[in-house]
């Protein structure tokens, strides 16, 4: 017996996505000035088709300005925006094929869910039948078909966001810009929506750029993260690269928790630097770029990259346990190595195992010498 199974919506969309396998975006030496103030300087980003990239940075770092330049809402002072290697200067957001999900979703409050999703299709001049098919398809994709007749004010935050994303996806944009889309959602829902949106965008094969100040969000969703501070890109790399090998001190302190210890290079031993930590002890650190002997450095090490030992050793930092904070799966200690200097140390917590007590003498050693970073200090 030979029966042809009808394709589900998701299968069909996946097939479509494979046809137009995403579009690339390139920002070439973008500079932007607001009056006298330089908001962005020399922004270069090369985003691959279908990639999910986050622009991460504190508020006021210029990430929203980058977004507005990509979407064409403002014209950059200098530099070029290229989509599929074509300059898009002078084009509007829709001519560029840029879809946007706004921070507050910006749903049209006087239109039903259906009309919101249909808006872009009608603007394109599609026939009634095609609009109807596409809207039905999009609403099915985000599982909101049963709410088509509702108004946005009658929906929950997560539902509103799904409408916003299906409205933006309906016109089949080349690029999807997400402007802090999760900030209005509560924490549990946020994770669900992050997974769902990532799945939707992957299915559609759409290149996406997420603007956020939430590092966890950027870490969990992105293929690559661009870290932005004061209008400059400090690092553009994969989440694990950003976490393990921060390019600058800003990246190191902004992403995750990190100990920064002022230290001095005192020698080299089998490819690693011997670093003397001011306050006591020395450690071995594998570092790629070459540093001058006796150079003053900031030694950056993550709390989970430290092992607690009870005996002294040549490459261990002595210290005294000050505070002990159990966090469920892990336990964090604050260990003072000098009167005014403390290090955070995170250990796996094993049920029943003895935890360190306040006042206990410990010796700290890096677990992985290559997952530490040295930042030269210009003194």
């Amino acid at each position: 017996m030979n029966s042809v199974k009808p394709l589900s919506t998701v299968d069909r969309l996946q097939a479509q996505a494979a046809d137009h396998a995403g579009h690339s975006l390139k920002l070439d030496q973008i500079m932007h000035r607001f009056g006298e103030m330089v908001a962005l300087r020399d922004i270069n980003l090369d985003i691959q088709p279908g990639e999910f990239v986050s622009l991460l940075g504190p508020s006021g770092c210029g990430k929203t300005t980058v977004l507005r330049i990509i979407s064409g809402f403002i014209e950059q002072t200098a530099g070029k925006v290229l989509i599929d290697n074509q300059s898009v200067a002078g084009l509007t957001a829709s001519q560029r094929g840029v879809g946007i999900v706004f921070q507050n979703y910006a749903l049209f409050p006087h239109m039903t869910v259906w009309d919101n999703v249909a808006y872009g299709l009608r603007a394109k001049g599609l026939s009634r039948g095609r609009v109807s098919n596409k809207v039905g398809e999009m609403l099915e994709l985000v599982q909101l078909g049963h709410l088509a007749k509702r108004y946005p004010s009658e929906l929950s935050g997560g539902q509103q966001q799904r409408v916003a994303i299906s409205r933006a996806l309906a016109v089949e944009p080349k690029l999807m810009l997400l402007d802090e889309p999760f900030s209005a959602l509560d924490k549990n829902l946020r994770l669900d929506m992050q997974i769902e949106i990532r799945r939707l965008l992957d299915e559609q094969g759409v290149t996406a750029i997420l603007v956020t100040h939430d590092q966890e969000e950027a870490m969990s969703m992105s293929d690559r993260i661009a870290l932005l501070l004061d209008g400059e890109i400090h690092q553009f790399a994969s989440p694990s690269q950003v976490y393990d090998h921060p390019a600058t001190l800003f990246v190191s302190s902004f992403v995750g928790t990190c100990n920064h210890l002022s230290s001095q290079i005192v020698g080299r031993e089998s490819g690693a630097y011997v670093v003397k930590v001011h306050g006591g002890g020395q450690v071995k650190v594998a570092h790629e770029s070459s540093l001058a002997p006796n150079a003053e450095v900031l030694f950056a090490i993550r709390p989970e990259n430290l092992r607690v030992e009870t005996h002294p050793g040549p490459y261990r930092i002595p210290g005294i346990v000050e505070i002990c904070i159990p966090l469920g799966a892990t336990i964090t200690y604050e260990v003072s190595i000098a009167p005014d200097k403390a290090i955070k140390v995170t250990q796996q917590r094993i049920a029943g195992a003895r935890s360190l007590q306040k006042g206990e003498q410990v010796y700290l050693e890096p677990v992985s010498p290559s997952a530490c970073t040295l930042f030269p200090t210009s003194s």
Binding site: S71, S94, Y119, G120
Partner: protein, 289 residues
């Protein structure tokens, strides 16, 4: 230790409830608004002389075609002025909404300026403009567009023109208030979905400014049909509107019950329009949080 045993913090009570706070105004309005209205309505059911209850005043009003003409003319004036204010006012409000901060300061001043001048002064200004030797006629004759001055003063058109100018600021301010409540990201969203300037205006901006249009229309209509100074000066006694009829009957002819009945009819006309426009406004409530 149980949290339940802790003493709950006592909320400091206001000495007065919100209802009580409104009492002084309620008393004032009762004394000087509600009671006079009741007295007025009661008066409209009295015969011209002596006491008793009668519908004679209303019968007299509705059987005299001259009165019906006054009623329809007043309604017509209200409609014309409201529509004219909307047509002239919306572009100004829209321009204000799109303007830069510096332009907004200038525009605010220009929009509010007429409101700072008394209606009597502005009406006399219009007498000068509309007269035989006035600005409009001199201009039209000077340009050779007409041979003889046209009659504008003491005409319905003249009254409507003057009233439009006088109530325009209220329409403009209502629409501005409504436009400024629209999230600018909606226009950006429309643009990103391929909606051009016109589509964005017709589909997003205009429908969302409907509450301002409705309240502006309500204000202008109600104030126009109850205006006395401008219609009596520009209309110059030859044109009769409801307020001038009330004045003539009540103050000149001392026919208080009839004047009261005319007042009641005017009030009902305004209430009907308020009801109709509010019903339209209700439809917009759905999406205004």
């Amino acid at each position: 230790m149980s949290v339940a045993n802790l003493p709950t913090p006592k909320r400091k009570k206001l000495p007065l409830t919100q209802g009580q706070l409104a009492l002084p105004l309620a008393a004032f309005l009762t004394l000087f608004y509600v009671i006079p209205m009741v007295v007025l309505l009661a008066a409209s059911f009295q015969p011209a002389r002596g006491g008793g209850f009668t519908l004679a005043q209303y019968a007299e009003f509705f059987t005299d075609s001259a009165n019906i003409r006054v009623l329809t003319l007043t309604f017509w004036l209200g409609l014309q002025v409201t529509i004219a204010c909307l047509i002239f006012g919306y572009p100004v409000a829209y321009f204000y909404h799109q303007a830069t901060a510096r332009w907004k300061t200038i525009l605010t001043f220009l929009i509010l300026l007429p409101l700072l001048t008394s209606a009597v002064v502005r009406t006399f200004g219009w007498v000068v403009i509309l007269g035989r030797q006035g600005l409009i006629n001199s201009l039209l004759v000077g340009l050779g567009m007409i041979d003889e001055p046209i009659k504008l003063l003491f005409t319905h058109l003249g009254v409507a023109m003057a009233m439009t100018q006088i109530w325009l600021p209220l329409m403009v301010l209502s629409i501005i208030a409504s436009l400024s409540q629209i999230d600018p990201r909606l226009a950006a969203a429309s643009e990103s979905l391929g909606g051009g300037k016109w589509r964005t205006f017709w589909q997003i901006t205009l429908p969302l400014s409907l509450p301002g249009i409705i309240s502006g229309c309500l204000l202008v209509f109600a104030l126009t049909v109850s205006s006395f100074v401008t219609p009596s000066i520009i209309g110059g006694g030859q044109l009769m509107y409801m307020p001038t009829l009330i004045y003539q009957q009540g103050v000149v002819l001392l026919n208080k019950p009839f004047a009261a009945a005319v007042s009641a009819v005017l009030l009902i006309m305004v209430l009907i329009v308020v009801f109709l426009l509010s019903t339209l406004g209700q439809r917009t409530r759905k999406y205004v949080q």
